[in-house]
């Protein structure tokens, strides 16, 4: 954990307070499903919590894999307060929670946004969930500039991680794995005729992926004419009678099958004949039925590329492994962005007020120098002198301000730099240990 700052600070007269961020949360890595269920916050409950704890400045990120509450002040007391407001008992669940404050919380949120903390590394859904959590907090007016800046920065980190690395690449669902497999036989699978056999849910999902990829020639067939008609309507496809299955397979290059048949509907001899009719053109069969619709030995036919649900799962696993290879690069981005965020925050909290006080002091010095002249020279000349002095002063300060901002933007505004700036420009505040 990072340095602690246990009390919310700089509470304004209106709106949520400001101060260092803390986080309490549990996720699929730290907590079993029952515990995650106990601490999940459906939208209405999350909105109620935000309303009730507005004084702590709150954002609730609740998904099927995690519940994370970002707020101000000490994370331990934040957890107690959340439990108290929602009538839940922490008890033994305390062991499942992680508590972070300041930079720990920032780093964690950035890792979550980059997909490093997801069950499937790099999945993109989490970015939308973070955006939704931020929107909900804004609607409930439970969020101040500090948390808003943090969440907006986190969304940018997520985008950067996916743009600069391959953490989000590769297929991670069965439908797309089917397309990938077909694309290893046919470069543009969508340009080849697709046949959907049966109305099983998994098969329909896979067929939708092909349709969404632009498959134009779609045919469907089912044992019952009504189901075939329904499928044809869903996919804008041509319905073929089940009795014409052989002809339909012969016309297709890609077959997706998911019937509820207890036995294979196509055996080796039957498919061999079909392949002969096809002139041994490659045939991709994605058999998603359990039990399988195509006898396993049809894979012996040289022009047949048969895959089942296990093969698609294997492809997904391979892709996830590929994404894991990108993790070190994304970790570096997270670290870099966390430093940048710390620098920005330090600028907002330590340096910006210092610069404001410098401008105020400069104005005061000008007034002190100019006031004695006011009655000794004519008003027009006085105005010119006043404008010239103000211009010189602002230009001088502007240059210094820009240099400090450049330091901030490069992530180089560390605690030492902030202290030196205070010591140079506001020694009184430094010796008091306070801000200007």
């Amino acid at each position: 954990m990072d340095e602690k700052d246990t009390t919310p600070e700089r509470q304004g007269p209106e709106g949520p307070p400001e101060g260092p961020v803390s986080l309490v949360g549990l996720n699929h890595k730290t907590a079993p499903l029952p515990a995650r269920e106990r601490w999940s916050f459906p939208a209405e409950q999350a909105a109620a919590l935000l309303e009730a704890m507005r004084d702590r400045g709150l954002v609730v990120l609740s998904t099927c894999n995690r519940t994370e509450i970002y707020g101000l002040g000490d994370p331990g007391s934040l957890l107690e307060a959340v439990a108290a407001h929602t009538g839940r008992t922490i008890g033994p669940d305390r062991a499942f929670f992680y508590l972070f404050d300041e930079q720990g919380a920032v780093r964690h949120l950035f890792r979550v946004a980059a997909g490093l903390d997801s069950q499937i590394v790099g999945e993109a859904q989490i970015q939308g969930q973070i955006r939704a959590a931020l929107d909900m907090a804004q609607r409930a007016a439970s969020i101040g500039p500090e948390l808003r800046a943090l969440f907006e920065h986190a969304i940018r980190v997520g985008k950067r991680a996916r743009a600069e690395t391959k953490i989000g690449e590769g297929t991670i669902d069965a439908g797309h794995a089917g397309i990938l497999l077909a694309s290893k036989v046919y470069h543009h699978p969508a340009e080849h005729p697709v046949l959907l056999i049966g109305s099983g849910k998994v098969g329909r999902l896979a067929a939708r992926v092909f349709r969404d990829a632009g498959a134009k020639e779609f045919r469907v067939t089912s044992r019952t004419a009504e189901r075939a008609a329904a499928l044809a309507a869903e996919f804008g496809a041509e319905a073929r009678p089940f009795e014409e299955l052989d002809a339909a397979i012969a016309e297709a290059d890609i077959v997706i099958s998911s019937t509820a048949s207890p036995d294979p509907i196509v055996d080796h001899a039957r498919l061999n004949k079909i392949c002969h009719v096809r002139g041994q053109r490659p045939l991709v069969i994605i058999d998603l039925a359990i039990p399988r619709d195509f006898a396993p030995d049809v894979a012996r036919i040289p022009s047949v590329f048969l895959c089942n649900i296990d093969d698609l799962t294997a492809i997904v696993k391979e892709n996830v492994r590929g994404r894991e290879g990108e993790v070190p690069k994304v970790e570096r981005i997270v670290e870099e962005e966390a430093e940048k965020y710390a620098s920005l925050r330090r600028y907002r909290t330590d340096v910006e007020p210092l610069l404001e006080s410098l401008y105020r002091e400069s104005e005061a010095i000008q007034r002190a120098e100019l006031d004695p002249l006011r009655d000794r020279i004519d008003p027009e000349a006085f105005s010119r002198v006043e404008a010239a002095m103000r211009s010189v002063s602002r230009k001088l300060l502007f240059l210094q301000t820009e240099r400090v901002k450049a330091l901030r933007d490069g992530g180089g505004l560390g605690p030492d730099e902030a202290r030196i700036l205070r010591r140079i420009f506001h020694p009184q505040a430094e010796s008091d240990g306070g801000r200007p």
Binding site: K184, V185, H187
Partner: protein, 270 residues
Amino acid sequence: MLILQLLNTFLPVAYAILAFEYGRRLVRGGPDENPPLAAVGALAGVHLIATALRGFILDHCPCVTGPEVVSLLALSMVLVHVVLERLAGLRGTGFFVIGIAFILQFFASALSAPVQRVEVHESFRGWQSAVHVHLAILGYAGFGIAAAHGVVYLVLYGLIRGRNYGPVFQKLPSLDVLDRLLGAAIVVGLVFFTLGIISGALNVTRLERARPPWPAITAGVTWILFLALLVLRRRPAWKGRRSAWLAVGGLAVVCVGLLLSESLHRLVSG
């Protein structure tokens, strides 16, 4: 001579290292990258310099002995592949092309070691023979590229049917793309090879002495074999796996013919 000996040893080693690097990037997970073009270009450059030096030091066109032709074939394949890789954005086939180039260069270096001066018939110092040999080599390079794509086709076919969905499966282009490239390479190879045969026939008429039959037999068998493959490919059943096997077998026949027929055109020592 020492520099030629060194280059003769260096080239297969360098091809092996490059093939290893392509292979390493192919089998590892993560981003799909090829070795830097500069490395491939540098090796091709060294190969070109070695070929030119050979011609200069040995005082003959460096493509008259079997090993010399095989070495030039390796170089041509690498150059054609670099163009394909950069222009067509082809990924995943480099290991196989460079791998075949390594095998060719290995045999070329092994069979020409130690490097010795050979006597070349005067008539083969003319531009006519240079045109003939270069056209023929471009034809062989086409067949070599076809064979390389045939190897990739067979590897991917095996991976899909063996349910091996690792990084190699992910990075190779599709079977139909490989098959199309194989077909295109055969067409290009046949065009150049046919021109090479015609120019060779014209060249022979200039020669005063009798020609041994081996080069003509080798060229004839190669031409018939690849033309037959092209004709057979008009049937769907002969595309894909069968074409791939035939292209690989065809290249093997070409290489054996080139290397075993004592020397390509018996140009050495009269």
